[in-house]
Every structure is written in structure tokens, then in C-alpha cells.
Amino acid sequence: MSTLVTCKELTKAYGKMTALNRVSLEIESGHIIGLLGPNGSGKTTFIKLLNGLLTPTSGELYIKKLPVGIESKKIISYLPDQTYLNMNNTVKEVMDYFGAFYADFEPERAYKMLESLQIDPKARLKTMSKGTKEKVQLILVMSRRAELYVLDEPIAGVDPATRDYILHTILTNYEPDASVLISTHLISDIENILDQVIFLKEGQVCLQASVDDIRMQHQKSIDALFREVFKC
């Protein structure tokens, strides 16, 4: 196991509003980590900082001991919380694009997953339903041999069957030495696949622990603990 992500006193402020406040944590390889917190707790800000979509106000952030940049983008496979592909493109065109820019993209795996879902690679994204588009995006992201998968709200707004498919795809397509960071507030749906959790509250880490330890120590499920911690 090695350290994939190191944050030291990481802070991000938007004007007077502090979205992330002196966050210090480490993420090791080989885990599925839940980044959990209510809306506005700083999950998406943290994920954007990891992907270089935001610049920290202060603090340090390293991916495999390197600052966020070209090298870190080569090893992180990111699924944002919205559709980010060109809707006029066909699935094949998008796959070619991924293949051109990401050396770790494996088109065979992507085609296999598309076939299992009976998605035509020649179909244009704009002709697909919201659920199918999300599946295509997930297939693209999980077809990379990345070292860190960062999935922002992958199961939000999809039907239970699609939710199951997404979780199955995540579980069956990441390398054992890679890590998966999943941000969500739908904890009951994903807690069975998690082995670590990070609770974010008002931009600060209020808990980082393994799922087993939490269950042992608190005698509660992650969902129950989350409800207790974030009780309104």
C-alpha cells in the first residue's frame, strides 16, 4: 500500500465563504472510500481540487507526492456530477477521444461493457436517456487503468436498477491496488461496498475511519452514524 493523496491544511474559500477549512488527510491505495457529507459540506470542492479544477486558497495537496498537474491527471480517472461529454458525438467518437489522451484507457473493456448493456457505439449521446448517458460516462471512466478513481455523486438521480449496475461496474472494474473515492449522501446504497469513510462537515473532516472500525466501535451502520452526526 502506498499513499495516493496527501492534504495538509487544505483550504478553499470563495470570497468570504470557506468551502473547505484546513483539511488534512491521507488516502492510501487499495481502498474504496466514501466521501460523505450533507449538501454544501465541501465534497465537490475537495474533488475539484483533486482534479485541478480549482486552486487551493492555502495548504498543500499532493497526488503520489506530486502537486496537482499533468502527472496527477494521468493517474486520476474522474467522473463529475454532471454530463460532461459532447452530446453531438457518438459513443465511439468519445472513446477515441479518451483513447487519444489517456494512455491507460482500454477500449476493449469499454466495448465489452457497452455490449453487455446493449449500447450501440455508433449511437449519438444526445439520443440517449439520462440513465444511459450516465452509464456511458461511468464505462469510460472505469475503462481506464487509473490509480485513483474519483466519482462525484455517481448514483444520484438514477433508478435503483441503474444504481445497482453502477455499483457493480465500480466493483468489478478497478484494480486491487487502485483506490476509489466516491462522494455521495445516499449512504445506505453504497455502504456495503465501502471499506473507509471520510465525513465532511462544514468544510472540515469530522471523521476518517475504516468501516469495520466504525461498526465495531459504534455498533452502528454507516448510514445510522451519518444520521446521528449530521442530525439537523
Binding site: 470563495y14 470570497g15 485541478g52 486552486t55 491527471k73 486520476i76 474522474y78 487519444a100 489522451f101
Partner: protein, 271 residues
């Protein structure tokens, strides 16, 4: 990676641009036919023919202006969509530097608009040739370049080739400035959490105002050099005006590119 970025940037924009060029070809054909009809109008329906040809020519002019505007607006829209809108999430997570991403997008915009301008000019030249009954280009064969060169030298105080060179440089810098004016306005606008379109327009207005102020100050300073013009030293005057204009253009281009680069690298704030 740079080659791949350029390839895909051209590929993603080519369909719309080629479509507008096809419309330009059709408009040129239509305009040429209108001029031919005007030229060969028979007596029986002369009035109708003239009206129809006039309408077709007006449509041609509208098409010409429309195509240039559509190309420019579409390319700016594509830039915004892939930089600051949903597709920006993919653009900015590709393993390439922010400088390469920005440079390639501006380069693509610049190339497409340059080619569009050349094609629009070619279309006008074709119409001039058709309208003159094939005499427009023939006139150049009997044209006395020596006489022309001497005249230009006398009027502007510089050679034709140098004058053309300056005009081309002015045109290309003007195009690049307009592109960066828009992209810098968008970059400034996306710094705000809400009302981004409004702030982009405001930023664009401020940049325009700054450019106008600098140009006016420069022109006021040229007043000193106007004496040279009045005294017949046209070369000195032209060099001063055109050199100054190019200098201001380059300074603004560098400034606006710097703004875009800094914001994209350090202050990116996607929706």
C-alpha cells in the same frame, strides 16, 4: 499531446464551419447568377429580372455578413462550452498543460476565422469578375505595376509590398485581438458565482473602453506627427500611425492572453 489537441479541436468544430462555407459557395453562385441575369436581361421581363437580381444580390450581401458572424459566434460559443461549461470538466482534466489547452483553442479560432475571411474575400472577387463581364482580372494584365508602385510610393511614402505587409499584419492582429477580447471577457465573467453572462459583457465593454482610451491617447500624440504629414513627409507619418497601431494591438493581445492564461490556470471556477 499538442498535435492531438489541435486535431480534435479542428475535428469538433469543422462540421459547422464547413456547413457555413457550403452556404457561402451557394451564395456566391446565387450572386453570380443574379449579376449574369442583370447583364443579359431581355426586354420582355426586364423589370422583373432587375428586381429579382437586386433581391438576390441583397440576399448575397446578407449571407456574406451572416456567414462571418455565424462562424465567429459559433466558435466563441464552442470555446465557452468546452472551457467554462459542462464540457470544461473534461477539457481541464485532460493530462495537458493549461497553456496548451488555451493556446490550441485560440489558434483554432484564429485559423478558422482567417480562412473564413479569405474565402469571403474570394467570393467578393468572384462576383467582381462576373459583374465586370470577365474584365476584372483581365484588367490586371494590362495594368502598369511600375506606375502603380510609383504612385503608392508617392502617396504613402512606402513600397507596395511593405504597405500590403503592414495591412496583412494589421488584419491578423485585429482578428487575434477580437478573439482574445471575447475569450478574456468570458474568463473574467466566470470568476463570478452568478450573473456570469452580465459580468462577461461588462468585462468586454471595459476592455473595449481601455482599448479606445489608449488608441485616442495615441492619436492625440500623433497630432505632433501630423505636421510631418502636412509638410509632405508621408512616410514618417504612415510609419508612425501604422507602427503605433500595431504596437497597441500587440500590447493588448499580450495583456488579454495573460488574463486568459492566469484565470484558466489559477482561478478556474466551472459551473
Amino acid at each position: 499531446m499538442l498535435g492531438k489537441l489541435i486535431k480534435y479541436e479542428f475535428k469538433h468544430t469543422s462540421k459547422t464551419i464547413f456547413t457555413t462555407w457550403a452556404v457561402l459557395a451557394a451564395a456566391t453562385l446565387m450572386g453570380s447568377l443574379a449579376l449574369l441575369r442583370l447583364d443579359q436581361g431581355d426586354s420582355s421581363d426586364a423589370t422583373f429580372s432587375v428586381i429579382m437580381s437586386g433581391v438576390m444580390l441583397i440576399l448575397y450581401i446578407i449571407a456574406l455578413i451572416g456567414i462571418y458572424c455565424v462562424d465567429f459566434i459559433y466558435l466563441c460559443y464552442h470555446y465557452h462550452k468546452t472551457m467554462y461549461s459542462s464540457q470544461g470538466y473534461l477539457t481541464h482534466t485532460l493530462p495537458v498543460s493549461p497553456a496548451a489547452t488555451l493556446g490550441v483553442k485560440i489558434f483554432t479560432l484564429f485559423v478558422w476565422m482567417t480562412v473564413s475571411s479569405v474565402l469571403l474575400s474570394a467570393s467578393v472577387l468572384i462576383l467582381l469578375q462576373v459583374g465586370s463581364g470577365g474584365e476584372f482580372f483581365n484588367a490586371f494584365s494590362t495594368f502598369s505595376w511600375k506606375e502603380f508602385t510609383l504612385s503608392v510610393d508617392e502617396i504613402f511614402g512606402m513600397s507596395v509590398s511593405y504597405l500590403i505587409f503592414l495591412a496583412v499584419v494589421e488584419f491578423l492582429l485585429g482578428l487575434l485581438y477580437r478573439i482574445l477580447w471575447i475569450t478574456a471577457s468570458m474568463a473574467i465573467g466566470q470568476l463570478f458565482q452568478s450573473g456570469r453572462t452580465g459580468f462577461s459583457i461588462l468585462a468586454g465593454f471595459c476592455i473595449y473602453l481601455a482599448n479606445q482610451i489608449v488608441s485616442t491617447i495615441f492619436l492625440a500624440a500623433t497630432g505632433y506627427n501630423l505636421n510631418a504629414f502636412l509638410e509632405g513627409n508621408v512616410r514618417s507619418f504612415m510609419n508612425y500611425v501604422m507602427g503605433g497601431s500595431i504596437g497597441i494591438g500587440i500590447a493588448f493581445i499580450v495583456l488579454l492572453y495573460g488574463i486568459c492564461f492566469y484565470i484558466n490556470k489559477k482561478k478556474l471556477n466551472l459551473e
